[in-house]
Symmetry: C2
Subunit: 240 residues, 2 copies
């Protein structure tokens, strides 16, 4: 099987980077193919805008989804978006590795959702949840936190981790059709000693085994021409 | 009173921009001072990194919070961060205006949370929720959606809007100490006719009245030297 890991942390010596490395090693040791999108190292741009399209149809009044549709049919996404889309379509399994900042992923990863997951490429009209194009593929969210486990309760103020991750797990991953495994949470990593960190790394390796195991080869996502053929010249009347 | 509006939409002709304009007009008509951070127009950078600090103490292995602490005490944040921090500290009320993309704010707004809200400036050790530094200030999240209201239910797949907004409202706004009004939601704006849009704009104007009304002048947020004096030379042992 094929695993794509998205790493979103500015420091190559971070614990997030160590977890991403460990996950890649484990998957390769199990015989799987792995690609890593190290968003900071690759200088991935976070902000969706007119520059995302090589030949925007209307740059005066940007309608992002219309431009995505045109770029999907014309193969005219900016290079970093096209590269990430290829990786995403290639992968049977997806692992997101990031620190929780202000209750969610760092902006660079939110920007990866915003820019890479495009109308006509990863979804189209009526493809969501059970009809999502990534049905049959599997995903794992692996996060680090500053806070201790008791913060992630109703009494602790932050609420359960699944509530924080609802936008990522439900509105992004499940929306696209992914099966979502329970999240892997490395709590309060700044306060862990070496033994605890090693245990957390072992735990992530086990989760990677679970992520890749017993999955049937999923169907490829249809090409934009096929996805969009029934829709015709769709018109949006607002930029939202 | 003083209102800061954060607008996060790439198109100046968007409905989000119209709502932001209407909110500013209404607040001024009521006699309040208004600033708008139009993140796209101002070219705000979304991605937290070493470039956020004019004189990073350790650029080889970036520890973001340590750098924030040094920049808070040394007045050495990058210009766009320093400007946004001044606006945030100036404002008694905060309104966030954005479209829901993949269940949350566009990356440019998430980056505003990540970069502007800095250790030593907007929070310090033990300042959160009831002890948050923005206690006595009030906030309103105003969003547009692609989906109809029925999508934002458990049966509709997206879940109630407050669940999507939990990271923004609880982990960012309430964490900092803000009172959070119920969110203002303009549903399915691409499908609304002119009359419906006018009604949505009127509704936002009313919410601005509610946001600014009957608030006592809040205490200023203490300066970094005061905030950090009890903490001393804090050491983090991990980049997370």
């Amino acid at each position: 099987m094929k695993l794509l890991i998205i790493l979103a942390h500015p420091s190559p010596t971070s614990f997030n980077a160590a977890l991403s490395d460990a996950a890649a090693h484990e998957a390769r040791a199990l015989g799987h193919a792995v690609q890593i999108s190290d968003l900071y190292r690759e200088g991935f741009s976070a902000t969706a805008g007119a520059g995302d399209f090589l030949s925007p149809t209307d740059s005066a009044s940007l309608h992002y989804q219309s431009e995505q549709r045109a770029a999907a049919l014309g193969g005219s996404f900016a290079a970093d978006i096209a590269r990430e889309q290829q990786r995403l379509l290639w992968a049977d399994c997806l692992m997101l590795q990031f620190p929780i900042w202000w209750g969610g992923p760092p902006a660079i990863l939110k920007g990866w959702f915003d820019r890479v997951s495009a109308y006509g490429v990863t979804y189209a009209d009526g493809t969501r949840f059970d009809t999502g194009l990534f049905k049959g593929r599997r995903s794992l969210v692996s996060v680090t936190t500053g806070g201790t486990p008791q913060r992630f309760t109703d009494d602790g103020g932050y609420g359960p981790i699944d509530r924080l991750l609802w936008p990522v797990q439900q509105l992004f991953l499940r929306y696209l059709g992914y099966e979502v495994l329970p999240p892997q949470v490395s709590h309060a990593v700044a306060r862990q000693d070496d033994d605890s960190r090693k245990a957390l790394i072992r735990s992530v390796r086990e989760r990677v085994g679970e992520l890749m195991e017993g999955l049937s080869k999923p169907s490829p996502v249809p090409a934009p021409e096929v996805l969009l053929e029934s829709v015709g010249e769709r018109r949006w009347d607002s930029a939202g």
